[in-house]
Amino acid sequence: MTTTTTATGTYTPQPGAAPLLRMIGAQAALETKMLLRNGEQLLLTVIIPALLLALFGSVDIVDTGAGKAVDFLAPGILALAVMSTAFTGQAIATGFERRYGVLKRLASSPLPRWALMTAKTASVLVTEVLQVALLTAIAFALGWSPHGNPFAVLLLLLLGTAAFSGLGLLMAGTLKAEATLAAANLVFLLLLVGGGVIVPLDKFPPGAQDVLALLPISALSDGLRDVLQHGAGMPWGDLGILGVWAVVGLAAAGRFFRWE
């Protein structure tokens, strides 16, 4: 530690917020860096989806119906990737940021709250781009032949991100960090099995199918599959389900989120 004093005038006040875009850019970059540095997060968002795709795509374990397994699996795994980042990863990270006073400290910085949320969303989207690139490469290596309208795929991914972000932030902003950690992982696991990701929904009893089909993960994986596997047009039904989840989740998060 230095005991020398700095030249007079070093600390003379010159307050001011940085330009908004620069703040959001800096915040998004930091959030992304934190996520990519976190081993558990990477396991969840990159390694598990990639392993599932590689494993189930090359070994015939689950009966995925007619056609190549990868054509069924790839859309489901893309849905899983969105859920792992927008919901599970974001919920856990935000829960601990809240617990360790990061959100509190940032709330007294020049960065407005909405801008912090914008930066978080940008960081989620950047991560998803990396995930989609990796998973698409693996799927192509396994002989994937996707169809359909790329715009419909993009819309599904974005609406799915909005729906899962709302739910993830609702959890992070209301529960204790440890509870969020446990619950977010549990939900991830349950939806992985019961959301049409690797197990087709028609393997479940008819009554259960109707309920499971309304889950955001089912709507996302079903919509992506309709487009990418079957070359369908706009999957309006699934987009509608995701839209409702997005509106309800984000509104509830906005209403109940506690910063401390």
Partner: protein
Amino acid sequence: MRSEPVVQVQALVKRYGTKTAVDGLDLVALAGITAVLGPNGAGKTTTVETCEGYRRPDSGTVRVLGLDPVREAAALRPRVGVMLQSGGVYSGARADEMLRHVAKLHAHPLDVDALVERLGLGSCGRTTYRRLSGGQQQRLALAMAVVGRPELVFLDEPTAGLDPQARRATWDLVRDLRTDGVSVILTTHHMDEAEQLADDVAIIDAGKVIAQGSPEQLCRGGAENTLRFTGRPGLDVGSLLKALPADCTAAELTPGAYRVGGKVNPQLLATVTSWCAQHGVMPDRISVERHTLEDVFLELTGKELRS
């Protein structure tokens, strides 16, 4: 330097459930360094966090740099630096990385490298926040509060848990802030910290300000200061008293133990020692007991500060 109040709190009341944390508190802080002093649970943090815009008053008004910290937060935030009592950093972030980030949120930040060196954070290297020592975490939080070149900084127990050397470094920085025209509000339960640093001290107990003034004013307001010495028993106290200024007292408490009360200054000390010299007395164990804020606090509240 001392002009418009930087913080004005009037009749602030803040309750958490049935517990009243702040109970009609009035506080005016002028430019310079103001220490908010009080035992744990006195309402220091609640008061400061209301000024920082984290809490809404149940009643009363708070103005910081003339602005309402909740309604005018957007205008106020860039002008104010905040050091929380703990936390506030991504657990996976490195010290310089986090500091650089906060700097990027401001238009004219300080030179981050110079600040890192000044606060001895350079040695943190690639260590992430959760593995930093408590002292390093404290210094990082302090750096984050000042890096945006604010007009006013709030420091919530800035030296809690620091070793003496790190504590001095923090004090030096706080003094430099003041020299350069930054106002500082700091909470502490270290008496010496308030005495060393503050232009103005507000003593808080049970959610109210019970005394406010400069450290000198507060110390003068209480009991007299005392000078003690031991010598041979049976000295002529009457003769000593005559040599002393009019408002002083002198007494032999127990045989050979003498006490002089009054305004103890170098002049008084010289008077006592020269009287001893004239009377062939060797004053053993001569000691000056200056009245401290600790005593003031004890007198005002009847309890120890660091309870």
